[in-house]
């Protein structure tokens, strides 16, 4: 229970920070939504990084590396280290400048002003909001899973998710951007420091990495030390995914909070280092866990399919539970039966279906109570990155809808945003409860949020860098993203019978759609297995360009305001 108590203590501190930020508030919309554009370089770097760190970064990536190996670092982390700082450098700094000059607080405000449009902006708001909600749900799911894991099941998933949702809602409600930024800074610091210490301690507890690596290298799991499980087309398409970062409303809005543009200098330089310090241990521990029979047994025993296994082979199932609890060492003659190839493979499949819990399982198995609690709190910190998404959504609601359609009073705008925070949290919580155990954290995020935001990036690039871009180009690209997302979701639903039995199995062609294939839990593009984000992004860029060529440009006055530096 000690780890759970530490996590609860941490949640209390976080709540206090939010309330303290509320006391420092000067009132007004800009103060609540953007902390009065006053964040210094240190808070800006750490809170921006913290906003990008989600349940998916830690739980999802370590779970994925448990299943497919070290390639996850190249797949997600190193490309993020290249593309995200570059997009902050090229786009983020421009957003800051435009926000400061024209008083904008959201992306849609910039688009409306830049392209002289009204209701098309509302359409972009709706699409962005629809895509942000899954991301918020991930936060609630991660919170529930973390508290459940840390407390060894004492706090059930539904209660853990509820507690996290309430804490996040409270400090966002009171503290606004200032509270969120301070909490994110605290969270990032905590994760980096405690995470590094824990990494070292777990490495000792499992007998050093060398032994585990050699064990993996000499068995069928050697593929986890390679990238053999990742199709090259999929790996290539992931290069586009980090473009979503700057299009996520919470990141774009965050770019407007810096006091000076020089805050971006340290951020873009140190961002890759922060990524490495965070993702490398998470991914490496995920791979190492695959070589730990006790961890595999523990994950398998918590799998939703374990009951089926127990019906088939009750003796083996009991043995798995005892190994998972540490009651029988894996080298005990009794437990050797679990080393038989068919049982080992079966256990791995069961464990894979519960792989997002791998990091927490490592903690509860190997880390001492106090440290497990501290790292649990640090993981909770990343999980609670949904705070900035909730704040961004409420900012967009207040500015892009309420204010745009007539709400002029600043006080009313802030209170409408606060009401939105409450509604948004309740909706996210209900959905998190209903889809739990049915949707993998990672795939949910990639399919419904990352791909969509990546495909919207051409809008931002065109708005900032191309004088010839038009609102109709933006409309065409937005509709393309909207309808492709709908199409892919519907296709995924209707092709469940075509889904191969496991993620490792080759995809099946989808009749009637010669370039589309059905994988275990997603649709891919061509036999090279490119992610669907590739055609989505290319289509969006093409429509933005092509439609803009033939439609009316904004007035020369507007173009001059935005491009007087060229």
């Amino acid at each position: 229970m000690l780890p759970a108590l530490i996590v609860f203590l941490y949640l209390t501190i976080v709540l206090y920070v939010g309330i303290f930020a509320f006391r420092r508030s000067r009132g007004g919309a800009e103060d609540f939504f953007l902390a009065n554009r006053s964040l210094g370089p240190f808070v800006f770097l750490l809170s921006l990084f913290g906003s990008n760190m989600t349940a998916f970064s830690i739980l999802g990536s370590s779970g994925l590396s448990f299943r497919i190996g070290i390639g996850v670092f190249g797949l997600l982390a190193s490309i993020s280290a290249i593309v995200i700082p570059m997009s902050l450098f090229l786009i983020g700094a421009r957003l800051w400048s435009i926000g400061k000059r024209f008083g904008h607080m959201t992306q849609v405000q910039i688009f409306r002003d830049r392209w002289e449009m009204k209701h098309i902006g509302t359409l972009i708001f709706i699409l962005e909001a629809l895509m942000l909600v899954p991301y918020i749900i991930i936060g609630v799911m991660g919170g529930g899973e973390t508290l459940e894991g840390i407390s060894s099941g004492f706090v059930p998933y539904w209660l853990g998710g509820l507690i996290v949702a309430l804490v996040v809602m409270s400090y966002v409600f009171f503290g606004g951007m200032r509270g969120t930024a301070w909490v994110n800074t605290l969270q990032t610091l905590m994760f980096l420091v405690v995470g590094a210490i824990t990494f070292i301690i777990i490495s000792h507890a499992i007998g050093g990495f060398r032994q585990t690596t050699e064990q993996l290298a000499s068995g069928p799991d050697v593929r986890l030390l390679t990238r053999a499980a990742i199709p090259k087309g999929t790996y290539f398409s992931y290069a586009l995914i980090p473009l979503s970062s700057i299009m996520f409303p919470h990141i774009a809005i965050f770019c407007l909070t810096a006091q000076k543009m020089t805050s971006f200098r340290k951020t873009v330089i140190f961002y890759p280092i922060c990524i490495m310090l965070t993702w490398l241990p998470a991914i490496f521990l995920g791979v190492m866990a695959a070589g730990q029979p006790r961890i595999v047994a523990a994950l398998a025993s918590k799998s939703p399919h374990f009951e089926d296994f127990r019906k088939e082979d009750p003796a083996a199932a009991d043995l798995v539970r005892e190994v998972a609890a540490g009651a029988i060492p894996i080298d005990n003659p009794e437990a050797l039966i679990l080393q038989q190839p068919h049982l080992k493979a079966r256990l791995k499949i069961l464990a894979n279906s519960n792989s997002d819990g791998v990091m927490l399982q490592m903690l509860s198995t190997y880390a001492p109570g106090l440290l497990a609690g501290l790292l649990g709190a640090a993981i909770m910190a990343c999980v609670m990155a949904s705070d900035s998404q909730i704040l961004a959504l409420s900012t967009m609601w207040a500015e892009d809808v309420y204010h745009f359609y007539g709400g002029q009073s600043e006080t009313a705008r802030v209170w409408s945003a606060r009401a939105f925070v409450v509604i948004c949290t309740i909706v996210a919580y209900i959905i998190a409860l209903s889809v739990h155990k049915y949707a993998n954290i990672f795939d949910l995020a990639v399919q419904y949020a990352f791909s969509g935001y990546t495909a919207l990036a051409p809008l931002m690039i065109a708005a900032l860098f191309w004088k010839g871009s038009t609102k109709h180009g933006a409309l065409a690209a937005t509709l393309w993203v909207f309808f492709t997302l709908l199409f892919v979701t519907a296709l995924q639903y209707h092709t469940q019978n075509l889904a191969p039995p496991s993620p490792a199995a080759p995809p099946n062609p989808i009749p009637g759609f010669p370039t589309l294939y059905r994988e275990f839990n997603r649709i891919v593009f061509t036999q090279h297995r490119f992610l669907i984000v590739l055609p989505m992004f290319l289509g969006s860029a093409f429509l933005m360009f092509f439609v803009s060529l033939f439609t009316k440009k904004p007035s020369q006055q507007t173009i001059s305001r935005y491009f007087n530096d060229q």
């Binding site: 070290i70 390639g71 670092f73 190249g74 982390a77 190193s78 490309i79 280290a81 290249i82 700082p85 570059m86 450098f89 700094a93 421009r94 800051w96 400048s97 400061k100 000059r101 024209f102 008083g103 050093g208 990495f209 060398r210 585990t212 690596t213 050699e214 290298a217 050697v222 030390l225 390679t226 990238r227 053999a228 090259k232 790996y235 290539f236 290069a239 000076k260 543009m261 020089t262 200098r265 873009v268 330089i269 140190f270 961002y271 890759p272 280092i273 990524i275 490495m276 490398l280 991914i283 490496f284 007087n564 530096d565």
Partner: protein, 86 residues
């Protein structure tokens, strides 16, 4: 239009060089030549594919440091300081 708008921009040669560096780092991330084998284990436990990618991440830091020192868009900050909100 402000005085800062007449500041000299990043020279085209430098822009081309920085673009090349960016593309090079991007290319190095796609190390398809070491895909199916663990290869050399650095310190006895770190597979080649992982330490290569960690190296790419460090290169990204160096690349961004170069961008900031050689091509910082300071004119944007000047504009924000001199222009007024609507």
């Amino acid at each position: 239009m402000t005085e800062s708008n007449h500041r000299p921009r990043t020279p085209p040669v430098l822009t081309a060089l920085l673009t090349f560096i960016f593309l090079l780092v991007l290319f190095l991330r796609h190390d398809y030549w070491q895909w199916d084998t663990p290869g050399y284990l650095l310190f006895g436990f770190l597979p080649v594919g992982l330490w290569w990618q960690a190296g790419v991440t460090l290169l990204a830091t160096l690349m961004m440091a170069l961008m900031v020192h050689l091509a910082w868009p300071s004119h944007l900050e000047d504009q924000a300081a001199t222009d007024h909100p609507r």
